[in-house]
């Protein structure tokens, strides 16, 4: 059966910044948000003042501002990636157990994370490749995955070798079970729900082409 696709919204796959821009646009006004280290951090560049988003950094702050430059660099004011940042009016500081209670207690609306793999049921693998000689390091990944109301993943759809990172079952060690609600990739946005995986929109390809790349049953958004 051929689906007449009406969900292709871009002629080309999205670049990292375009993807960050899309995630930023989807964050509901007034949300409390934690952006993971790496690609998710780019999202902060596209949040508008009008959105009134409060950023959380797990080392102990709400109301984090942009990266600090020049005289604003202060060794006592860093983010979870240990990068010097700034504070915005209305910021607050708290100790590590309170900071993780904000996360683990379900108070954050959204966290945005990178991933090695996401499964059809929303399992997340993003902390360990499973390589026997790798030194394991987990940080706050498991707390973020389990605690936020919505977990958005940003990643390329395919590995360098061309395998889909959206999979039936994760083969990498898990970070969290059934926690991911949305996956933003360069080729498509996927919504993960109790009724399966829906393709919300595609970039530079059709729904049918996405279905060929991803080894699980997908539905196009209505």
């Amino acid at each position: 059966m051929s689906t007449q696709t009406s969900i292709q919204t871009s002629e080309k796959p999205l670049g990292r910044d375009e993807l960050a821009q899309l995630v930023a646009r989807d964050i509901v006004r007034g949300s409390f948000v934690n952006l993971g280290i790496g690609q998710p951090t780019l999202v902060s560049n596209y949040l508008t003042e009008e959105q009134n988003i409060t950023l959380h950094t797990e080392n102990g702050m709400l109301g984090m501002g942009p990266a600090a430059v020049g005289d604003d660099v202060d060794g006592d004011l860093i983010n979870a990636g240990k990068i010097p940042v700034t504070e915005l009016p209305g910021a607050s500081y708290f100790h590590h157990a309170d900071s993780f209670a904000i996360m683990r207690g379900g108070h954050l609306d959204i966290c945005v994370l990178g991933a090695f793999q996401v499964s059809a049921s929303g399992d997340l693998a993003n902390w360990h490749t499973g390589a026997p000689d790798a030194i394991p390091a987990v940080g706050g990944a498991m707390d973020l995955a389990t605690g936020a109301k919505d977990v958005f993943v940003m990643m390329t759809l395919l590995t360098r070798e061309g395998a889909s990172k959206l999979v039936e079952q994760c083969t990498y060690p898990l970070t969290g079970v059934g926690c991911v609600t949305r996956v933003y990739t360069d080729k498509a946005v996927f919504l993960i729900g109790a009724d399966g995986v829906t393709v919300r929109e595609t970039f530079g390809c059709t729904f049918e082409e996405i279905q060929i790349l991803v080894p699980l049953s997908l539905k196009p958004a209505e």
Partner: protein, 234 residues
Amino acid sequence: MLNFIDTVGEAVAGIQDGSTVMIGGFGNAGQPFELIDALMDCGAKDLTLVNNNAGQGDQGLALLIKEGRVRKMICSFPRQSDSWHFDAKFRAGEIELELVPQGNLAERIRAAGAGIGGFFTPTGYGTTLAEGKETRLLDGKWQVFETPIHADVALIKALKADGKGNLVYRKTARNFGPIMAAAAKHTIVQVSEIVPTGALDPENVVTPGIYVNSVVRVDPAGSNSAAIDTEQVA
């Protein structure tokens, strides 16, 4: 019993071989570098250290690991671009690692200070870090039983202490300080400034002095010993 101590060396002198020592800080923010250096100099070995990371570069905690003084590391994120001393010891099988999700690390430390015997949390359920641990279905979520992390000693950094040992911190340098101060039997704090009792607004005290045993002032502009040398020269 609260003591104000002149030097970081005297402050850490009582730390025994085999102790569990919590060290505050996340990245460089809140790291009590001078107390860590003093722990290095005092020679204590066979230590179990609790910190978010496992040392960076060629300073502080990384040196304790390099010199073989650390038996076990309890942390959430040992692997960094410059964690070469930990990496080498770990690969050689010369250091034990207890890897703990960061929120569990914080909450297990908090639990120790609050007299809590353990708690259930969804964090880590279904992952390799929960293997072998008791699980329960609570409030519709599978949760993992986690136990408190106690310590013999905590080394932390704060901005100011008053005469009662009440502490205030600065920005994100607060991180593990308050919970480690409560979790350890003996808490040693290095501060930039000691202010008279009454000079801190009680509404703004972050760590009440009841959790603090030793306070040592470290000149924020330089190391403790350098500050003393300057005084002697003057």
